[in-house]
């Protein structure tokens, strides 16, 4: 290591909340021009640490240094003024305003009488944008940009100050593989300018591709830092969870059943065209492709949320007309949606009520709900799926991401569907729960369900699927079997490159 002084240094940070020691003597240093990964399971204390850094929480003990000066971050603006900039996982942009207005939000250059100095505003913004090499300008409306470009706007916002350290919190969570590459270039660029970068992510392949050092938190405690080049996935995972994570391909150990679901020439406007595939019971069919390739739209069509413009859906060989979710559920198709918080769960309701939501009507005695029967269903699936909750009365919003996802899966299993569609099964879920959910998907197939898994993560789709459908801009390019799939030909297929 060089002897230069760190861009950012945390020393012995302690933060306690009633009943929890969220941060227990955490120390961390980020050198200028270094990409420093911060890893840990959900609840390990990453977010708390970042909030301390951003001035949202004040630490109970410990010091923060920017360069060699100890500083106190009194609020987020103060933190930004001292050169610590955050790129948040969830974008916080005003979609109806232009890029320039967003970049300088709250700090618009003004003329006399409070008039906005549009000329300076656009010039300064365009200067920053040209550094980022993006394909839009200062006058573009943010709402018209893709998610990836909106993230670029967030980054541009960070560059309006003389940043000493930039913190990326799960920056690739909603990006496609192609868009990630652009982001990585920007990070490399910042790095070459001597900015210290903290990179928070759950994704191992990014950590190894991008970062110089890795620091790990577990249960609020600092577990140590390693040079990325000297470590490997298993070692980091073990530091994070204290056990090993298996991501190798699971062999098929059971016989496949009959064709449960068949789709023939299905089309839906410009979303997707001419889709043909079959899923057998006992099989996991993976759908892999870029965001916008039409995968989610197909799932929504099968679940009755979207009407196809042409084509047929056959369930157990019988043609079905599915025009609403309730029709889909009746027919035996269930969907674990992409975003469990906005589409899957009623966050304000308790665990049991969420679990039995689709069948509360079937279980009722006349107009009245049958509490006892519902608790029985909940208990059954809590045990089967190993859902960690103090009891069924717990509000779902208070559970961890992994347990929330298990509640959604349990909800649909309790309906005994023939076909279970899982859209992004492990988005925003920590490593430990991830492998539990992968295992669960394999087990469900083994017990006879036909499972469709849609995922943007290649290791995941390779790990859980028996066959993989590769999609590109609304069309199925190729269906791979586990024998002929490789990372290379899968990437080529979903990028629209035709192999010879």
């Amino acid at each position: 290591m060089t002897q230069q002084s760190p861009a950012l240094r945390l020393e012995g940070i302690v933060k306690t909340f009633p009943g929890v020691r969220a941060l227990d003597n955490v120390s961390l240093d980020v050198l200028p021009g270094e990409v420093h990964a911060l890893m840990g399971e959900n609840g390990a204390g990453k977010s708390t640490l970042m909030k301390v850094l951003g001035g949202i929480y004040q630490p109970d003990e410990g010091l923060i240094y920017v360069g060699d000066t100890p500083v106190v971050m009194s609020n987020p603006l103060d933190s930004k003024a001292k050169g610590i900039v955050f790129i948040h996982q969830e974008l916080s942009l005003a979609e109806e305003l232009s890029v320039a207005e967003n970049v300088y939000l709250g700090e618009l250059p003004t003329l006399s009488f409070g008039r906005v100095d549009w000329k300076t505003l656009y010039e300064k913004t365009d200067a920053i944008l040209s550094k980022l090499k993006v394909g839009f300008n200062a006058r573009t409306l943010v709402g018209d940009l893709s998610i990836a470009n909106q993230q670029m706007v967030e980054i541009a916002r960070a560059l309006t100050v003389d940043a000493k350290a930039v913190i990326f919190d799960e920056p690739t969570a909603s990006l496609t593989d192609a868009e990630k590459l652009v982001l990585f270039e920007v990070i490399a660029d910042l790095k070459s300018q001597g900015v210290g970068i903290v990179y928070i992510s759950h994704r191992m392949e990014e950590i190894f591709k991008m970062t110089d050092r890795v620091s790990v938190l577990r249960d609020g405690q600092y577990q140590g830092s390693l040079l990325t080049a000297d470590t490997n996935e298993e070692q980091i995972t073990q530091m994070m969870i204290g056990r090993k994570l298996d991501l190798s391909r699971a062999p098929i150990t059971h016989e496949l059943g009959d064709i449960a679901l068949e789709v023939r020439n299905l089309s839906c406007g410009s979303s997707y065209q001419n889709i043909n595939f079959q899923v057998r019971s006992g099989e996991v069919l993976g759908f892999y492709g870029l965001v916008g390739a039409g995968r989610t739209e197909i799932a929504e069509t099968l679940f009755g949320l979207r009407q196809p413009s042409a084509g047929t859906i056959l369930l157990d060989g019988e043609q079905m007309h599915i025009n609403s979710p309730s029709a889909a559920i009746k027919a035996g198709i269930s969907l674990v949606p992409e975003d469990r918080k906005t589409q899957g769960l009623v966050l304000g309701m308790n665990c049991r009520d969420n679990m039995t939501l689709p069948q509360v009507d079937d279980m009722s005695a006349g107009p009245f709900v049958s509490d006892g029967a519902e608790v029985a269903v909940f208990d059954l699936y809590r045990d089967r799926l190993d859902i960690r909750t103090p009891g069924w009365r717990q509000t779902v919003g208070n559970l961890s991401g992994g347990n929330q996802q298990k509640i959604v899966i349990g909800k649909w299993l309790s309906m005994h569907p023939k076909v279970l569609i899982v859209d992004e099964p492990t988005r925003g879920i920590d490593v430990g729960s991830k492998s539990a959910i992968h295992k669960l998907i394999r087990e469900l197939a083994a017990s006879g369900y036909a499972v469709i898994v849609i995922s943007s993560e290649m290791p995941e789709v390779l790990h859980v699927s028996d066959r993989i459908v590769a999609m590109f801009s609304g069309e199925i390019i190729r269906t791979f079997t586990s024998e002929d799939v490789t990372e290379d030909n899968l990437i080529q297929a979903i990028s629209g490159i035709t192999p010879k």
Binding site: F17, P18, V20, A22, S47, T48, F303, L305, S324, P325, S326, A328, I329, K330, L335, P337, T342, Q343, G344, L345, V346, L347, G348, M349, D353, L357, P358, V360, D361, S364, P367, F368, V369, R393, G397, N398, K411
Partner: protein, 333 residues
């Protein structure tokens, strides 16, 4: 477990604590300020208070269901007036002339049906057009009020039936007729929210409509049912009230929607939907009535009363928000 229980019931219990505070305050302040000889917490005074709470209270019970479901109904005041007119006017129709006092049953039924129908109309428009309930019922509030004026111009609609007035002023176990109707409404709707499929689904829809749709719940019918219920309850409130007074002024019921919403919100129901209880609403209704009565008791005039209620509404919601924001932040750790 106990702290969890307290947390869950905080927003409802807060309003009852506030009511106790009001009782103590007005009893003590009244001792020095009131010109009246009677104590504030006099039994008859309290019974009268419940009786006077009934018109707003019965509608507020329905509004709780509507707001938990994620909607709002601004037309309740106009429905209140229409139902009153239907009841009083239909008693004078020649077709019912031979019925004697049985005309009361017929007129009540007609009025309640009218309320339910007007509610159903609101609900169907909200469901089928997808226009926000606020806009739809803002329109129907104006439209229904227009119907009231079309019927009899600026003139009141009156009819006196002594049997009806006796019924309205009757007492059973010490409570007035109107109080019994209020209690029954609270009980029935509480049972609906707590123990029925419809109640469960209404909460789910209000809390996360997308998730409810994805669970195969048909949102539209549940909304229509709730609008029918509130239309019915607005009419019920009306028939109970006009049975005693016997005369509907075309401006009657104006601003009721706002008093009703104030009571519901004071009782802890969220404007955004998904949480709330009729027990809390009952507290909100009583708290407002106590405030009106109490301020009157210590000699404040109507305009002061409105000012104070407005202030208290904002203060209570501010405190509620502080409590909730703190809770949410700790959870995100």
């Amino acid at each position: 477990m106990i702290s969890e229980f307290i947390k869950r019931n905080l927003s409802t219990s807060a309003i009852w604590l506030f009511i106790i505070f009001e009782l103590l305050f007005f009893s003590i302040a009244g001792h020095y300020l009131s010109f009246s000889d009677g104590a504030f917490m006099d039994l008859n005074n309290m019974l009268l208070l419940l009786n006077q709470s009934a018109p707003i209270g019965i509608i507020a019970v329905g509004m709780t269901l509507i707001m938990v479901n994620g909607n709002i109904d601004l037309s309740v005041g106009a429905v209140f007036a229409i139902a009153g007119i239907v009841m009083l006017d239909s008693m004078t129709w020649p077709v019912f002339a031979g019925l004697g006092d049985w005309v009361i049953v017929v007129s009540w039924t007609l009025a309640l049906l009218a309320g339910a129908l007007l509610g159903a109309l609101n609900g169907l428009i909200v469901w089928k057009t997808g226009v926000d309930a606020f806009i739809v019922t803002l329109g129907s509030m104006l439209g229904y009020r227009g119907l009231v004026f079309m019927f009899n111009g600026e003139n009141p609609t009156s009819h006196l039936n002594w049997t009806l007035i006796d019924f309205a002023e009757a007492q059973f176990l010490g409570f007035n007729t109107a109080t019994w109707f209020l209690a029954a409404s609270v009980l029935v709707i509480w049972l609906v929210t707590r123990y029925t499929v419809h109640g469960r689904n209404a909460y789910a829809i209000g809390n996360n409509r997308n998730a409810a749709v994805n669970a195969g719940i048909r949102v539209g019918p549940h909304m229509v049912i709730n609008f029918v219920i509130i239309g019915f309850l607005a009419a019920l409130s009306s028939v109970v009230f006009y049975s005693g007074s016997g005369s509907v002024n075309p401006n009657d019921g104006q601003l009721y929607e706002l008093w009703v919403i104030t009571a519901v919100v004071l009782g802890g129901t969220k404007l955004a939907g998904g949480s709330g209880s009729v027990i809390g609403t009952l507290g909100g209704v009583i708290a407002i009535q106590l405030l009106r009565k109490g301020l009157g008791y210590i000699g404040a005039d109507t305009s002061t009363v409105n000012l104070v209620i407005g202030l208290i509404l904002i203060v209570v919601l501010f405190i509620d928000r502080q409590l909730n924001v703190k809770g949410a932040q700790e959870l995100r750790v």
